[in-house]
């Protein structure tokens, strides 16, 4: 890899400068402050970017440090050749890294190239920035170097496995952490041990607990054995007691058996006695019960017979009524029909009575007849007369008014004729007419309520007067003007006069006619009011015609016949039951209509008596009928009951006789007695059979031989001794029971504890297992670390030699010495043997350090870049060397430049090699 050219836009104090580079040695000998280090830094920065971007210190923060004071584009470009290709790298820098611009182009085509990224330094040199400065870039006063990981990795590139070596430190660190995680005080092994100790602490109690549990279990077992012995003792004693008891029981059984025998015998005898009552078969209980039930009704029947037995009076009544009612009642209709007849009769009587004329009516009829008979009178004629009279009266009134008017007109006319118009006179006459007319009208209206015709006429008259009055007033109120003779008035006067004449004539004629009629009629006028008299005549005529019609109607009415017929039917019915009845038809045979009418009329006044007579008779008949019916029913009932009673009695007696038993009265008691006896027999039988069954059952279950023999087993101990032993055993059993409960409880509790400890033991085992595994892993991790360390040592040792050889070569060039006192360890760390011991180069002078450092760097570069060589930057590294060594340095440069492109900066000509 070689630099071709670089152009700095602005970088530090360098601005707008271009530098060309050639293969081999490129010397830049410039005065101090020219910017040599800046140029070296530019070259480094173009490939690696800035370092320490986050530092505040100006010296450390390269971005700030090299920021051009003059402003402008901060950056530049550099062209180089790598792997046979030429590139142009352009970089500008901003305030921060994100503002930086990176651009790589193919130098010839100027087309952007993707062969390298902005990490072009690492990609080209296979070193990070720090390693670049530790190797390829040799700065003044900074010659001392040491292999970084990157350098080592690069050195490791000898075998191509850069990754492993690069991560060796991390791997060791990682392993260390893992190992620590096991072995530190808070590590897994320690934790596990602690947990195990905790479980073991718990388990300390386990042996004693198990011992305790075992002891308790044993104790419980012993107690159980003792309990068994006690139970055995109890059983033995129980057996003895049982035997004793058995003996006692046998004796009791014997006694019991005898008692059973005796009881059976007694029961048998009782049964025989009870049975003896019944000579024949035993009655059926159900049948007996039925008979008893039947006998229960005997009394009721007897009572019924007694209740239905006729008293003497009833007998007499029966006889009496029987004569009449026995035959007749069945044939005759019941009284209700006759009652209806009675009602009908009196209904007809009532309606007929209304039809007949009363005495007054008769008298009136006679009077009217005498008045009107043979006369030509009728309603229409009378009305005509009345109307005529009215008209006449009306005309009279009208004429009166007209006459007055006429007088007035005449007087007016007269007055007109005679003198100057006189002062109008107040029409007093008109006013009077008005007043009178009003009074009459009111009076007429009031009168009309009493006498309609008169009232109306009066009112009409009153109206006429009012009219006249008004006319007068009007006429009077007209202005009187001297006029020539008024023809109209004259006509009017004439008309009036004519009317008056006609009117008077009419009136006269009318009145004459009416009066003539009245005279013909022979009416005596009272003279007060003809109209009233006419009205009266009319009323009388109306009455006359009404009465006459009524009279005529009666003559055609058949009601009396009907009434007669009804009366006869009623009384005939009554007579049928009451021969001594004397009614209204007695000795009054049915006759003609007239006769019947008379009959009816005669009895009309006595209606109430007749009604009462008939109703009483009918009531009597009804009552006696009911009595008769009652008696008949009673008779029937009596006979039935009697029959039933006798029949039942017979039946019961036959039943008792059938049982071959003596009949006793009352029969019910007798039957009850039989029932009791029967029950007694059944009870006795039951008892006997029960006793027998008991005896048989006893014989079936018991050892009868033994019982009968009376011999029992012998017992070696007494009952008291047995009981005492049992008592003792029971007490002990109770104690054992209580102890066992305690033991069980303790065993339970210990068992639970044991369970917990078992769990703890299991946990401990598990933890131990885990501990074992952890310790194994821990051990193996340590082994892993050891082997890795060992591998690294032997691995790095492989390239230590080339570095050592390279160092010696360059040291020889530089110092002229062999450089044998310089050694490299497996980690490629340099030491200088002095006074027989390897020493740290830091302990030596700056010149010595620089020499060693320069040679070391070049040895490293030689070892790292075995094929394509990079450029090497020397920024006045020989500044601390003496003259001799400086010459050596120049030789070194020459030598190096045969293989490498060397960019050499110096500020002194003595160190240019020219």
């Amino acid at each position: 890899m070689k630099l071709i050219q670089c152009h700095i836009e602005n970088f530090g104090k360098i601005s707008q400068q271009t530098f060309d580079f050639t293969p081999g040695l490129n010397v830049f000998c410039q005065e101090n402050g020219w910017g040599k280090s800046t140029l070296a830094a530019f070259i480094k920065t173009m490939f690696y970017g800035f370092e320490n971007d986050k530092k505040r210190d100006l010296l450390e923060n390269e971005r700030k440090r090299y920021k051009p004071w003059q402003g402008g584009v901060y950056g530049g470009n550099i062209s180089f050749e790598a792997n046979g290709k030429e590139y142009l790298l352009i970089r500008t820098f901003g305030e921060k890294e994100s503002d930086d611009v990176f651009l790589l182009q193919d130098k010839n085509t100027r087309i952007a190239s993707g062969d390298f990224t902005k990490n072009i330094g690492e990609e080209l040199f296979l070193l990070d920035g720090a390693s670049f400065k530790r190797s390829i870039m040799i700065s003044q006063n900074d010659c001392v170097t040491f292999p970084t990981d990157s350098i080592n990795t690069k050195l490791g590139n000898l075998t191509g496995e850069e990754g492993d070596l690069n991560s060796f430190e991390d791997a060791m660190e990682h392993l260390k952490k893992n190992v620590n995680s096991y072995e530190r005080s808070t590590g897994l092994i320690h934790k596990l041990k602690e947990e195990i100790a905790e479980q073991e602490k718990k388990l300390i109690a386990l042996p004693s607990l198990e011992e305790n549990l075992k002891s308790k279990t044993e104790g419980a077992k012993l107690l159980k054995e003792e309990r068994d012995r006690c139970n055995g003792k109890l059983r033995e004693c129980s057996s003895y007691l049982a035997q004793i008891s058995c003996n006692r029981v046998n004796a009791e059984k014997q006694s019991r058996y005898e008692s059973l025998l005796k009881s059976e015998k007694e029961r048998r005898e009782s049964f025989d006695r009870a049975r003896g009552f019944f000579r024949g078969e035993l009655p059926e209980a159900e049948e007996l019960k039925d008979k008893i039930r039947e006998s229960g009704s005997l009394k009721a029947l007897e009572e019924g017979v007694r209740m239905t037995t006729f008293t003497d009076e009833e007998l007499r009544l029966e006889n009496r009524l029987g004569e009449i009612y026995r035959e007749r009642l069945s044939k005759q209709e019941d009284p209700e029909g006759r009652r209806r007849d009675v009602r009908t009769y009196f209904e007809k009587a009532g309606s007929y009575e209304k039809k007949i004329l009363s005495v007054n009516e008769k008298e009136t009829l006679d009077a009217c007849r005498s008045l009107f008979a043979g006369k030509d009178v009728d309603n229409a004629g009378l009305q005509e007369y009345m109307d005529l009279w009215e008209e006449c009266r009306s005309k009279k009134m009208s004429l009166a008014g007209k006459k007055e008017v006429l007088e007035i007109l005449k007087s007016e006319q007269q007055a007109q004729k005679e003198t100057k118009p006189s002062k109008k006179k107040f029409p007093v006459a008109g006013l009077v007419l008005l007043i009178c007319g009003g009074v009459l009208a009111v009076a007429g209206i009031l009168l009309a309520m009493l006498e309609p015709i008169t009232g109306i006429v009066t009112a009409l008259f009153g109206l006429v007067c009012i009219t006249a009055g008004m006319v007068v007033i009007l006429v009077n109120n007209r202005k009187e003007l001297p006029q020539p003779e008024d023809t109209t008035k004259v006509q009017q006067l004439a008309g009036l006069e004519e009317e008056i004449i006609h009117g008077e004539s009419f009136i006269k004629n009318g009145e004459s006619r009416i009066r003539a009629f009245l005279a013909e009629l022979g009416w005596n006028e009272t003279g007060s009011d003809v109209l009233k008299e006419l009205y009266e005549i009319k009323e009388k005529y109306r009455t006359y015609t009404t009465l006459a019609e009524k009279e005529a109607g009666l003559q055609q009415d058949h009601t009396p016949d009907e009434m007669r017929y009804l009366a006869e039917r009623i009384e005939s019915y009554i007579l049928g039951f009451c021969p001594d009845f004397n009614g209204i038809t007695t000795n009054r045979p049915n006759g003609s209509i007239a006769e019947n009418t008379r009959f009816v009329l005669e009895n009309l006044d006595k209606s109430e008596e007749i009604r009462a007579l008939w109703n009483q008779s009918l009531d009597r008949i009804e009552s006696e009928s009911r009595q008769w019916k009652t008696l008949c029913e009673k008779r029937k009932s009596f006979e039935a009951k009697q029959e039933e009673y006798e029949s039942l009695k017979r039946s019961l007696r036959n039943y008792i006789l059938g049982l071959e038993l003596e009949i006793k009265e009352p029969l019910q008691d007798c039957l009850l007695d039989i029932e009791n006896r029967l029950e007694a027999v059944q009870n006795c039988r039951k008892e006997y059979e029960g006793a027998k069954a008991s005896r048989e059952a006893f014989e079936a279950v018991e050892n009868m031989e033994e019982i009968r023999s009376g011999v029992f087993e012998e017992i070696p101990v007494t009952e008291e001794a047995c009981k005492a032993d049992m008592e003792e055993a029971n007490v002990r059993l109770e104690e054992i029971g209580s102890l066992l409960v305690q033991y069980q409880s303790q065993i339970q509790s210990l068992g639970e504890q044991q369970d917990e400890l078992t769990e703890a033991a299991e946990r401990r085992a598990l933890l131990k297992e885990r501990l074992k595994e952890a310790e194994k892993r821990h051990k193996l991790l340590k082994v892993t670390r050891g082997h890795l360390e060992k591998a690294k040592t032997s691995f790095t040792a492989r390239y230590t030699k080339p570095v050592s050889d390279g160092f010696k070569k360059y040291y020889g060039m530089l110092s002229g010495e062999a450089g044998d006192r310089f050694q490299f360890d497996a980690n490629t760390n340099l030491s200088i043997t002095e006074q027989g011991l390897p020493r740290d180069p830091k302990a030596f002078s700056a010149g010595c350090r620089d020499m060693a450092g320069i040679c070391f760097r070049m040895a490293l570069v030689d070892a790292m870049y075995t094929e394509e060589k990079p450029m090497v930057l020397f920024d006045d590294p020989f500044v601390n060397l003496d003259e001799e060594k400086t010459k050596g340095g120049m030789r070194l440069l020459q030598e190096i430049s045969r293989e490498y492109q060397v960019i050499y900066f110096t500020c002194h000509g003595s160190r240019t090699g020219r």
Partner: protein, 362 residues
């Protein structure tokens, strides 16, 4: 006549092994629920008797929930009769808390207790003893005319250890069916010419040491000829299964995952179960395997899935013979260490390489 023979329910067991606290709680409840399902099964399948051959509970101190649930199941089903023989894990707490023993609960003691059942003119006895002493053998007297069922809890064995049940000493005693408990796996064999002995195994498994199907025995006794037919009824809600998977050819967790998935699919286990994937084989030392990540990926494949890495590393040491890199140097260094076993060497190589690669160490 039908009976259920079960044992080792270990109700109230903590179930915390492997499972998170929430899942442990859930499993604990499932244990109880399986017991109730078994009772329900009995009701719906004409079973009249349930024989519990020990270890009904896991600890001597029983929680109120477990105690009440069991008691309630007994009391509310008077049509079922429960024969409860206590085992080494059972204590007294359940029984002492009962105000009175339900009528349909039959208990045993440290002495032989025999219950007689008569049905269709045939007599069936159920005998049991809670203490494994000599009395167990000397005190058992059975009527050979009857159908005899005997209940015991313990490990079968031949030694003189009193905790063992000497089956040979129980032969020819007229036992038709020896209902045992204690072993958590199903096992049924002939006892003698007449009868069989059987461990039904635990009703619901609790760990990977109890892989496979679990349930109870259904006894069907023919009352006419007195023969007893017993059938194992798988009944557990969840089972533990171990699936070995050879991942020798896998280099990455993803490849291992695929291999595991394939193996699980072939095994065909329901996702309800609890699976342990046992990774086997020799993996390349550079292969990558994150078991936690795998477990996370397989979360939905089972109720709980655990990955156990039982693989060993294979290092082709010869390939490093000429490896000039640091890695090669390291591997050669490890190879030459005589203090390490081959397995340890493979482990060290792997850790070293992982460290150099900046990966998380195993």
């Amino acid at each position: 006549m039908k009976l259920i023979h079960c044992g080792d329910l270990h109700l109230d067991s903590k179930m915390t092994a492997h499972l998170s606290p929430e899942k442990a709680k859930e499993r604990k409840a499932e244990l109880l629920q399986t017991y109730l399902r078994m009772v329900d099964y009995a009701l719906h399948n004409d079973v009249k008797y349930i024989l519990i051959a020990g270890d009904l509970f896991d600890t001597k101190k029983v929680s109120a929930t477990a105690s009440n649930t069991v008691l309630q199941s007994i009391v509310t089903h008077p049509e079922l009769t429960f024969f409860y023989l206590r085992g080494n894990h059972d204590g007294n707490s359940f029984l002492t808390e009962l105000d009175e023993v339900p009528e349909n609960l039959r208990l045993f003691t440290d002495r032989w207790t025999t219950y007689t059942l008569t049905e269709a003119g045939k007599t069936l006895t159920v005998s049991g003893i809670e203490e494994n002493s000599e009395l167990l053998y000397s005190g058992l007297n059975l009527n050979p005319e009857h159908i005899n069922i005997v209940m015991l809890h313990g490990q079968e064995g031949a030694g003189k250890n009193s905790d063992l049940i000497r089956l040979k000493d129980l032969r020819n005693k007229g036992i038709d069916y020896l209902a045992l408990g204690h072993i958590h796996f199903y096992k049924k064999e002939a006892l003698d010419n007449r009868g069989t002995y059987c461990y039904p195994g635990c009703l619901e498994p609790r760990g990977f040491d109890e892989c496979g199907e679990h349930g109870f025995m259904l006894l069907d006794i023919n009352l006419k000829d007195g023969t007893a037919e017993s059938t194992f009824v798988p009944f557990s809600y969840r089972n533990f299964y171990e699936i070995p998977v050879d991942v020798s050819a896998c280099m990455t967790s993803a490849e291992v995952y695929e291999a595991v998935r394939k193996a699980m699919a072939e095994a065909g286990y329901d996702s309800r179960h609890i699976i342990k994937i046992l990774l086997q084989g020799e993996r390349d030392y550079e292969s990558e395997l994150d078991t936690l990540f795998l477990e996370k990926q397989l979360e939905d494949a089972a109720y709980y899935c655990r990955i156990k890495d039982a693989t060993t590393y294979h290092v082709d040491y010869h390939s490093f013979a000429l490896d000039e890199s640091l890695k090669g140097e390291f591997v050669r260094s490890v190879m030459e260490d005589e203090n390490l076993t081959e397995e340890e060497k493979a482990y060290v190589v792997r850790q070293g390489i992982k460290a150099l690669a900046g990966e998380v160490l195993d």
